[in-house]
Subunit: 251 residues, 6 copies
Amino acid sequence: MTNHAKETAAEAGFYRSDSRAVDQLRPLTLTPGFVRTAEGSVLISLGHTRVLCNATIENGVPSWLRNSGRGWVTAEYAMLPRSTVTRTPRESERGKIGGRTHEIQRLIGRSLRSVVDMQALGERTVILDCDVIQADGGTRTAAISGACVALALALNALVKAGALVKSPLRQLVAATSVGIVGGTSLLDLCYEEDSQAEVDMNVVMAADGGLVETQATAERGTYSRAQLAQLLDLAEGGLKTIFAAQRAILA
Amino acid sequence: MTNHAKETAAEAGFYRSDSRAVDQLRPLTLTPGFVRTAEGSVLISLGHTRVLCNATIENGVPSWLRNSGRGWVTAEYAMLPRSTVTRTPRESERGKIGGRTHEIQRLIGRSLRSVVDMQALGERTVILDCDVIQADGGTRTAAISGACVALALALNALVKAGALVKSPLRQLVAATSVGIVGGTSLLDLCYEEDSQAEVDMNVVMAADGGLVETQATAERGTYSRAQLAQLLDLAEGGLKTIFAAQRAILA
Amino acid sequence: MTNHAKETAAEAGFYRSDSRAVDQLRPLTLTPGFVRTAEGSVLISLGHTRVLCNATIENGVPSWLRNSGRGWVTAEYAMLPRSTVTRTPRESERGKIGGRTHEIQRLIGRSLRSVVDMQALGERTVILDCDVIQADGGTRTAAISGACVALALALNALVKAGALVKSPLRQLVAATSVGIVGGTSLLDLCYEEDSQAEVDMNVVMAADGGLVETQATAERGTYSRAQLAQLLDLAEGGLKTIFAAQRAILA
Amino acid sequence: MTNHAKETAAEAGFYRSDSRAVDQLRPLTLTPGFVRTAEGSVLISLGHTRVLCNATIENGVPSWLRNSGRGWVTAEYAMLPRSTVTRTPRESERGKIGGRTHEIQRLIGRSLRSVVDMQALGERTVILDCDVIQADGGTRTAAISGACVALALALNALVKAGALVKSPLRQLVAATSVGIVGGTSLLDLCYEEDSQAEVDMNVVMAADGGLVETQATAERGTYSRAQLAQLLDLAEGGLKTIFAAQRAILA
Amino acid sequence: MTNHAKETAAEAGFYRSDSRAVDQLRPLTLTPGFVRTAEGSVLISLGHTRVLCNATIENGVPSWLRNSGRGWVTAEYAMLPRSTVTRTPRESERGKIGGRTHEIQRLIGRSLRSVVDMQALGERTVILDCDVIQADGGTRTAAISGACVALALALNALVKAGALVKSPLRQLVAATSVGIVGGTSLLDLCYEEDSQAEVDMNVVMAADGGLVETQATAERGTYSRAQLAQLLDLAEGGLKTIFAAQRAILA
Amino acid sequence: MTNHAKETAAEAGFYRSDSRAVDQLRPLTLTPGFVRTAEGSVLISLGHTRVLCNATIENGVPSWLRNSGRGWVTAEYAMLPRSTVTRTPRESERGKIGGRTHEIQRLIGRSLRSVVDMQALGERTVILDCDVIQADGGTRTAAISGACVALALALNALVKAGALVKSPLRQLVAATSVGIVGGTSLLDLCYEEDSQAEVDMNVVMAADGGLVETQATAERGTYSRAQLAQLLDLAEGGLKTIFAAQRAILA
């Protein structure tokens, strides 16, 4: 717990429902090879949040990239109906993808594309399927952190098979949520915290510390630039832990 | 291995890729409470086939049952895109449910309804979500066997909570696939066997031995009534094992 | 009426609303050339059930069969809105095909494919459109029996036109429904009987007596293997009549 | 054949493929009670064009008419896939109603509404299902002429049942197509003529001679007001025959 | 005001809400180049009705015209949600195009195709997007008159660019609505008049006076051929004004 | 031009295609009452970007808010097909809303909700329709700035009509895009700049300076916290101009 975090929490008399420190990540595990059917497969668990991330590599690219010599990386995200405490109807039954799903899978896709050398990938498409088995907040950021490992495993397999000389993954990418609840800035919000947050932020970062995407939304009122900076501090701390876990699997 | 099965296999010089006897089920495990978000949750593993079965109990019934005092049980079935060796596109992306999915979820629903006392359930709807995590043949029958346990757990919870005096589940129901491959009748086909089968059959049975649904399809040529009887013999043997596993979880 | 059938009905004091014997088919007529626009066209009437079966032969096959030298046979099934006593909304208006329709057209397609030599058909696709003009039970099995004749007519026309040396239809296929109502096994259920049935079964058989598809569903309670055998006996009797009617048209 | 028509045809040296006079309708038959499941049912045959028109009367009206005391009349139109020489894919499979279908069913609905006293009908909805069994030109106008009889039969049945004191049908309505082919004005175009027409016109008329809808479209070039008048003359002649046929059925 | 019009109005003691004569068009302006992004762009204002008409010329034609050497012209029509006094939900949100939209865009497409030499256009497709900014009656006819100018501008640009030797537009086309309100025939109905009309008519005419499409619908009761002629007289008068405005822009 | 901005641009030898300073907004105009059919209507022009923002106020709220006493604010966004240099197909024709549209209309909705007192609004729904007439970058942020004025006008009208005592709009909200192009931070990117940007950021701010939403996306490589701060500086400058323009209209 950083000094800043400790003080803020102390002032606010703030205690998290699972007794975590304000700058503490929930228990994180990455299970590689969760299914044997996919080229790269990882189950990421972050507290009760569990997302299955499977990477598929297909030959060919969307039409607008044909004959460009460049590859493409895209993502699909879905929640199993009972990943949530109240059942969420299937989007296949409704016949269309909802706005939240679209927003999330576009974020995952952009995040992963930021660390792949498309020229080195060649005219291949990587699809990252992120299916939420159990949801307790932070599913989209967990999906990014897990999908990055699934992607790395699938690309490594392609190198091992001799199809690529070296992996087109330039560096790792990971993501975390941060937020302000009751005036206190917190790392890695669980669902209960998320639903009470005044500010909700997702931070996607590359392993070299460069920012890939930051999205901070005021759910109630507004926020200041000082608060934005504080949230970024917290996120950077959490992301170090996630990068370490990713590296441990890929070592 | 029954005498009949042994002889048939011997004659045909038939060996299964995983060295199973013709009347032997793949290793079966039922993991209750796989997710904590659902009222009843079971992961069923049958060899490499893994299906997550979650039961949801909602108040209210479809419009045609309103004010009838009777409940309803229905099922939804889906495959995760990488449950298969070649990626299967999501039905949510295609915007519609395919014919195979429709056929399967109707079978699961009918099978479960056959063992529930709808009057005792009252005006509640049970939805059984069966999501295939990994597919290696027999997903629809595994879904029925797993969903029955998820349903039992959810109904038991309702009894424990005092909402019902006793469980409306009259008896257990389970299902297995059988088939004829290269002239030999086999219990519990894996994907490789299934794709070569001349006859493919699904048998749904109640715990008292009564048949709930039998579907036998000739994939190549036709089959005789004698072959149909032989397949039913094999299925009955396998179903005893499955009922025992279900009872062990619910004990 | 077989002895067995007579005794069963006698014991049960069972009388059918249209005074038929338990093993008696409803009046069956096959009208070839019902429309002049289709390559093969048959209206099948079975009591009040009337299904128009039209066969279309198109050059080319679905993508997964291209350059295989093999053909494909598929079916589509629909009910006119007022084929039913209460109007059934159009699936075109709802924007999607329902589960029952999917299940039925898959059954019709499988049944017809079982008797066609796809190599001899060559890279052609046969589409069997089965449209229910009036529904009184047994529409899916009537559709199979009628579609087989429409298919035969269309293939014969191709032979006559010199496009094929001989018809790729290896043998005829037909189907009937059987069921148990009030404990009595009955052949060819009308709608009223079907809606009260404890067990509902569809039997698809080739002309040589080989079984193509059998589907027996318990609508209330369960059924025994003895009952299954009895239903198959009844079905075999009815199917002889249907095959005779098909042959009469094609002679 | 009117003097005018004879002269025009003579001048042009025009002969119709079926040897009809330019002002002659194709053979017309109306078969009431074609299905027994609908409140009103008529098969209209006009040469090779055959349209099944079924009327459904339901209690209740669309939301914008609730509590107005007024009824509603609407129509749905569809072609069976093999009503056409080349198979027309089903709109249910495509998942949406096409523009031509929309245009036609709106025309049928407007035409029938023009002759119904909505106040007298009360809060009921009449749906006229017009399904083309075989198409050889003029299906939309045949549908109007047939649907009017189906509507009359259904309303008469309501009167007979005591639900209405008298039929809310104020008068009959009928329709025909006319057009200009090779410079000659023709009554009741068959498909072959329709596909070569320079001008294609649909005329909907009430039995008292009042016009309900006239739509004249130039398919090639334009047309003059004199030609429009000539087409209306031809249409009036044909419509007399159609009204007589309708009256014969309803007598 | 023609003598006829004056008399009719006088007899009926008829006054239009905006004090127009019965044969007077609302103020008409055509604003070329309303957007700079389209090849041809015109905003047409007719009283409060405002429709933005943009022409797009794309290489290639629909599949059924490929290698025919001929071009294609088509139209799309939509209303902005608040073009109407009560908000009209978007068809993109509903997931399908409604019947009225289909009917209108088919009319616009046919009207424009009637004046284009498809051989001279070559294998190009012109799409005319007609988007209603504000609706006060007559949007479909305004769309035709505006789209014709957008089409002319886009084709002229193609000539100027050297892609075509001369414009394939053979002549101008324009449209107007006419109708009968309270027994009086009126030119160019505004929404208030349109909603009270007994007869509603759209007249599409080419610049040489030839008729392209006439559609007259009885909204209440029926109409006579004399009334039809009177409406055509009124339309011809209004169309002269519209053609003059079109020519002024294109000069 | 701030000192910082001047220096950065000078160092980079950076010139914008329209000669703007790096911290200069494009010409901004807000046209209130652009359509007379909507309760609140504003056309916002920002350089060549033009978005029509119309506010609708309807009684009632979505089901999850019923009987809460609280209101709801939502947005819909669409591009006219020829708002873009290459025609963009309509989402109504494709039958579904795309991911980008979903993402944008969710952003607009959240932004506007942040400044509305839902309790004071009562059980009413405000829909903000944002239709892009011409697109040259920054359409989503222009939509927010324009929609805020349309919303204010519609709420003021409700106050004037006596339906509300005072406007539930707590303060104004506005948005701008900023980005990094060729290493230089720029305010208000046009399309050409946007398509070359390394970082693209949207900043939504309330009139009191509080942040509502910040989204910064690396399109190529990553960005640092220092760059993020610089972009926020630029955005704050531009937003002052936009707030002034909003206030001028509402005064």
